[in-house]
């Protein structure tokens, strides 16, 4: 990823708006940063699969732009994670030299693209979540995390604008497009519970004021999604009782295939640069 160069500059934080996290929080903060960074990275990679295959040239660029925003977020988050871990791993080592069980992304984002409508449903569910998350993280007590989130929230506002607009167009479109996005929604909805299921990592950081309490994000996410689904004439599926644990490293079979493609070059030619 370092080939992209100048985009890696960390955004300037609001000076004096926070501080570094205390030593005792480091293990939890490392795991938390991986969760956020891997979620953006894996979704960015998924969207990259559309390049050259989108329904229109304009959507090709639209999806690629979102993909690059997400990969940019992943770079900032993984670079920070590597520093917190303190074992000399940079963004590239974390992105390209870990196997699936070490990835901590949400299970939702590793799900295959399917058709354009399914990609839009997945995107909208995640955008609405990242929007609430980054808005909350912008006032994190961790200064660096706060500055990363302040940059990301602007990008994410456009992502949600894009995906919710398409959700409405497809849901409230033809019988064919409505049926496709409704089926995708019913298939992907089961992964949304994980978005708000906190474990010891989020709980510890939540108490320390570094990360938001995940359950607090749910009402606003739900009302945002409800409004979009209503306008799209889509029916919200019932909650699914099965818990997914992508952020604890337990993934569906799809992640391994995605990583095989994403990591192929670095695995075959370790340290390759261009």
């Amino acid at each position: 990823m370092s080939a992209v160069g100048e985009a890696a500059e960390s955004p300037r934080g609001k000076p004096g708006s926070g501080e570094s996290s205390p030593e005792g929080l480091r293990p939890a903060l490392f795991r938390y940063l991986l969760r956020l960074g891997d979620t953006s990275l894996v979704l960015g990679q998924r969207l990259g699969e559309w390049v050259g295959h989108s329904p229109a040239l304009e959507e090709d660029l639209g999806l690629a732009n979102i993909s690059l925003d997400l990969i940019g977020q992943a770079r900032l988050l993984l670079t920070y994670a590597g520093g917190i871990e303190g074992k000399g791993r940079d963004e590239d080592a974390l992105a390209f030299l870990r196997d699936a069980p070490s990835f901590a992304n949400l299970t939702l984002v590793e799900q295959p693209n399917g058709d354009f409508g399914r990609t839009i449903v997945r995107q909208c569910l995640l955008d609405a979540w990242q929007l609430e998350l980054y808005e909350a993280l912008a006032s994190s007590r961790d200064a660096r995390l706060s500055s990363i989130a302040s940059k990301a929230v602007k990008e994410t506002r456009y992502h949600f604008h894009y995906s919710s607009d398409w959700l409405v167009r497809l849901g409230d479109g033809t019988a064919e497009s409505h049926g496709r996005v409704q089926r995708a929604l019913e298939d992907l909805w089961r992964f949304t519970e994980e978005l708000f299921a906190a474990d010891e990592v989020e709980e510890q950081l939540g108490r320390a004021g570094v990360a938001p309490v995940l359950a607090d994000l749910q009402p606003r996410w739900s009302s945002r999604m409800d409004a979009a689904l209503h306008e799209a004439t889509l029916v919200k599926p019932p909650p699914s009782p099965y818990p997914w644990h992508g952020k604890r490293g337990v993934h569906t079979e799809h992640l391994g295939h995605l990583l095989a493609e994403m990591q192929h070059l670095q695995r075959t030619y370790p340290g390759a640069r261009w």
């Binding site: 329904p55 639209g62 732009n65 607009d165």
Partner: protein, 94 residues
């Protein structure tokens, strides 16, 4: 899909105070989507701070076949350029 979408012309203002300039065209289902597409296609390298889009079909253009009649007569009227004044040395920035 894009074959079914009408064509739009895109105008971008690169900085506040400058005029919008025509930068190209794109397909979109409606004007709202056209603005989003213009953002995604034509402002990826910080080209602009404002976007206008207009349906290409709504532009009324001069007829290329009439170009001779419309534009040729101006060719030999150099006196229409304000280049025949002697400018005093004291005047800068003109």
């Amino acid at each position: 899909m894009s074959n079914d979408w009408p064509l739009y012309e895109v105008f971008i203002r690169s900085r506040s105070g400058l005029e919008h300039k025509h930068v190209g065209s794109l397909h979109a289902a409606d004007s709202k989507m056209a603005v989003d597409h213009a953002r995604d296609v034509y402002t990826r390298r910080q080209e602009g701070v404002s976007i206008w889009v207009v349906r290409s079909a709504d532009i009324i253009a001069s007829d290329p076949l009439e170009a001779d009649a419309l534009f040729e007569p101006a060719r030999d009227k150099v006196y229409r350029h304000p280049t025949f004044y002697a400018i005093p040395d004291e005047v800068k920035n003109l």
